[in-house]
Subunit: 222 residues, 2 copies
Amino acid sequence: MRQRAVVLLSGGLDSSTCLAWAASQYDCYAISFMYGQRSTSELEAAKTIAEKYALDHRIINIDLGNIGGSALTDHNLDVPDQLQDGIPITYVPARNTIFLSYALALAEVKDAQAIVIGVNAVDYSGYPDCRPEYIDAFTKMANLATKAGVEGHPIKIETPLLHLSKANIIRLGVEHGLDYAQTVSCYQADADGRACGKCDSCRLRHQGFIEAEIADPTRYVN
Amino acid sequence: MRQRAVVLLSGGLDSSTCLAWAASQYDCYAISFMYGQRSTSELEAAKTIAEKYALDHRIINIDLGNIGGSALTDHNLDVPDQLQDGIPITYVPARNTIFLSYALALAEVKDAQAIVIGVNAVDYSGYPDCRPEYIDAFTKMANLATKAGVEGHPIKIETPLLHLSKANIIRLGVEHGLDYAQTVSCYQADADGRACGKCDSCRLRHQGFIEAEIADPTRYVN
């Protein structure tokens, strides 16, 4: 019997790659979050991808917008077009911690042995909660927090993208049969899931396809 | 200037005691959670107490019921009347981890230096996420997860009740002027906030007043 994993699936390029990778070796549960994102087209992409893989997919409605402090959820702040030094304004306070905590709850209920998350220490070095030392600390905490951990069945957090360039992430997804036209990375995609082509996330994504020497299937507004 | 703290406030005896203690030394933000509890009277108590202390109080609506696995949120499971060995059926998967994660997000946005949580290793030893080693691990993770932690302003997690008996918790609250008639601990309190007097939580609470030699002001159904 295959082990079970809970996969954090936003519908973006990275998490969808994680899902394609994880589905090849785990029985997967997908978990997505509504947290006051400006655009819901990434979430629509998550639904499409989860359906394609015929997964138990749970969408958790969370109140991050009520907490504020990020350009991604606070509609009074502009999303910057340019990459910035240090921690980006698009950083969402404690976001991965909250997401992983829900994934941990679901993993415990489903008796899953792994949580899969698409953090990446190469392109997103400005986000504290994308670093390997953060993931290690979360894992230690998780195994003290849960029945399974306490009873000697520790959970592991799989980070298959941690040290991959965007180009190598794309190669990994293509190897596992992922159709990237179904994924949405743009911070301000339109209602049809078409990307702006200008924001940080669009630039990194498009550059990845160029470096991977794979035609970019992304649907852009222009 | 006083430091700021985010206090997890359920409206129960323990968290209300934490708030009374914290308000004496921090500027406090209170945070409560709706997570599909069978009874909302504890949450009503939280509102009353937060208003009395004139606090910024945020109620976060979370989807734990959607994840399942606990008698407190899964309405197909009965709440047991008797204390049990090991991890109780009323354990909610990853609950404190999820709650602390939200508190961490709010602490980061408000630039708070502490999170206050009413965990107790005496009466609730069956819950893995009430143990000191869990709190230590969460603190380490939190300071790797956040801007403040990364920039050298670590957050601490205050657990003023950690090693106190129920009687001593009650004494601490009374010292800080808390009116326990306003708090609700019962797992199945009625709409008016009256306690059943029979569940684990009611038994522990009533026993605490007896041992503290303080008249029990709890409003019971019978």
